[in-house]
Symmetry: D2
Subunit: 102 residues, 4 copies
Amino acid sequence: MAVVDVTIVPVGTASPSLSEYVAGCLEVLQGAAGITYQLTPMSTVIEGELGRVLEVIALMHEQPFSRGAGRVVTTIRIDDRRDKKLTAAGKVAAVQARLGKK
Amino acid sequence: MAVVDVTIVPVGTASPSLSEYVAGCLEVLQGAAGITYQLTPMSTVIEGELGRVLEVIALMHEQPFSRGAGRVVTTIRIDDRRDKKLTAAGKVAAVQARLGKK
Amino acid sequence: MAVVDVTIVPVGTASPSLSEYVAGCLEVLQGAAGITYQLTPMSTVIEGELGRVLEVIALMHEQPFSRGAGRVVTTIRIDDRRDKKLTAAGKVAAVQARLGKK
Amino acid sequence: MAVVDVTIVPVGTASPSLSEYVAGCLEVLQGAAGITYQLTPMSTVIEGELGRVLEVIALMHEQPFSRGAGRVVTTIRIDDRRDKKLTAAGKVAAVQARLGKK
């Protein structure tokens, strides 16, 4: 299981508003098996088996083209830990536990 | 006002666990005037006047060195919109409103 | 054809030196069909059909684990332009042409 | 001395072509004291004292706004190593030396 975040930015969209495009990408996630996700202010965090997550992101990356974009810049960050189970919730909890101790 | 996210990864820490270092970086934010922030599974989102946010991130970047790290890789993503007010909460709400319509 | 850059950072290595790991990732590229690549100071730039590039990056991402790393943070940036042919060399040349005009 | 790379993407431009904006950002670098830089296909690599590099990047980030952009997404990656001198050329050379050995 990997924790991944993704940003998908269409370029040359005339308007600086991107929420329509981001919503289109999230619709791909709503129907996707084998992953969980959460929207944050700067990216979408996706959790699942790495191969499956990358498969889903490849579909998300197509979305802005299907809405007319001519160019898309996508950034994927993979956090893959194999010495112990890594989860999105566990990562946040581990930091908060350390902050709480002080 | 800009919305920014930051990841700070110390390299050569012997252990793959980074929560101690992330907590150290968040302590910088806890005491910082002029910004708001939230911890997400893949980064910390900071909101504020851009110059002030970068000043605070420069302090965060020093934290792992003060705990003994010899090398730190920091990634900063700035979303700066000036044709209308941009907020972290507003970005998420705009996408959710579009998803709700369908 | 997409232009992509990738950074692969093993976490929890004993030393801050990563060149051994980066070299391992580049060996994957040396043998890979259907792509071209160049090493830069901050990332490796890969050019090719997007699905093929992502396939190769998935193999690169496995490399540090095979050398004993317990955690790997990989960042992939995809620049995908479909209204005209995009190449790594063409991107740099377009900027230099504009600078030369002035 | 840190090695940093930066990408500056204006959002909501009429055209998917960004070379005009990238050239504007590079003009800032041409006149900047205390840093060296190189253009690569996916980012601009800047080398110098970290505070100075961030100062220069803040100026680069203003460039697309001065050309009419309403929104700019800037990504900064900092590689800061303090146990030994880090240079852009040295990073590439270290990897090539390892590849050459095999």
